[in-house]
């Protein structure tokens, strides 16, 4: 996965992501692609969750999956989740759950609840940072005011880091793949450097949904695991998602 929150010169915030999934879950030799992503793509749907006929939040989901990996509360905040690898992982949380220790929350139920119930960027950040979980994760959160954008690095039980936009110091975007931002990514899976190179080449002056789509279409940010790309404009309240393909030659991850 690659998620980013960027602020343009006018203080407008954009949030976008590639949803990559299905590593090592079966390779389709005939089509030269992973199997699971090809079955996930036609399940991709945009959802408008409503109460009293009014939008509470919107999301991009796989049909049948009730949690949220990509979502937005229009005019308030946007949220995506990227996987975080850790030896203290979700399987420990599942074993604890089965053994009756139920204080943790399932990752995608947490994101769904935050989108459903949080009323501000700050409240969302607090809930995502401080709720005990069954599995580690990265939460990428964007708000609707200048400077409201961060990557929250979570272990199962604690918030390890919150990496915020900082325009005074030239940090006009935050970008997360699947590795702690203060560490070098795995040398065989560095999508961060190419993505940041393209962000820097685009510059803050020219950042827009269109140029972000270009960046998320650049290999290896786009790869064989990419199922969809989502572009979110919180002030306009729009979320647009597109199923993706990565024609050969293309990185398997």
């Amino acid at each position: 996965c690659t998620s980013l929150v960027a602020e343009d010169k006018a203080g407008k915030l954009y949030h976008a992501r590639n949803l990559d999934f299905g590593l090592f879950l079966g390779w389709d030799i005939k089509n030269n692609s992973w199997m699971v992503p090809e079955y996930l793509k036609p399940l991709t749907v945009n959802l408008d969750f409503q109460r009293n006929n009014r939008t509470v939040f919107k999301s991009t989901n796989f049909a049948g999956y009730v949690g949220v990996l990509t979502g937005m509360k229009p005019g308030t905040f946007t949220l995506t989740m990227n996987e975080r690898f850790s030896i203290d992982g979700g399987y420990i949380g599942i074993i604890e759950w089965i053994l009756g220790k139920r204080s943790g929350v399932w990752m995608s139920f947490l994101t769904r609840s935050v989108l459903e119930n949080a009323t501000s960027y700050t409240q969302a950040k607090d809930q995502l940072a401080n709720t005990e979980m069954l599995a580690p994760a990265y939460f990428i959160l964007g708000g609707n005011q200048s400077g409201e954008g961060c990557v929250i690095t979570r272990s199962r039980t604690a918030c390890l880091d919150i990496w915020e936009l900082d325009l005074k110091r030239g940090r006009w975007y935050v970008l997360e793949t699947n590795y702690d931002h203060w560490k070098v990514p795995l040398f065989l899976d560095d999508r961060r450097t190419p993505a940041m190179k393209c962000m820097n080449l685009t510059t803050q002056a020219k950042i827009s949904l269109e140029s972000i789509y270009d960046i998320l279409s650049t290999k290896p940010v786009l790869n064989k695991l990419t199922t969809y790309t989502s572009l979110m404009d919180v002030s306009a309240g729009t979320i647009e998602s597109y199923q993706r393909n990565c024609p050969d030659p293309c990185m398997p991850w």
């Binding site: 945009n46 049909a63 995608s108 599995a135 040398f187 190419p194 993706r244 024609p247 990185m251």
Partner: protein
């Protein structure tokens, strides 16, 4: 690193939007989910439309499981072991998963697996 060896890394793309061409597979349809309706019913329309694709996804994961565990024990474990766990989930997720299993015809344990796959995948 190995990843920077062309052609796996390309120059920053331009003019990709609006999405067209070989990297664009298709647009994504919209659905409304009415949170005022019962959790067990609110996903019915969507799942009715997508139950073939959902069944196909679950089948490909089951085929993978059979590759690793030909005896079928793993699938049996999912169907028998995970289904009861749905009742341990907080509301409204427990009822929503049951509604999806009802309409799709996919066993409840397998719908549960799909919805907690993030935690399971870490294995």
């Amino acid at each position: 690193s190995a990843q920077f060896v062309p052609p796996y890394t390309e120059d920053c793309r331009k003019g990709m939007y609006p999405p067209t061409g070989p990297t664009f597979k298709g647009s994504v349809p919209w659905y409304k989910i009415n949170l005022d309706s019962a959790p067990r019913k609110r996903w019915n329309q969507l799942i009715n439309d997508k139950k073939v694709e959902l069944t196909n996804l679950i089948q490909v994961i089951k085929d993978l499981a059979i590759d690793f565990f030909p005896s079928g024990k793993l699938i049996e474990l999912v169907d028998k072991g995970l289904a009861p766990l749905v009742d341990t989930l907080p509301s409204p997720f427990d009822e929503e998963l049951k509604g999806i299993a009802d309409v799709s015809g996919v066993p409840l344990g397998e719908i549960m697996l799909f919805n907690i796959f993030y935690e399971v995948f870490t294995v």
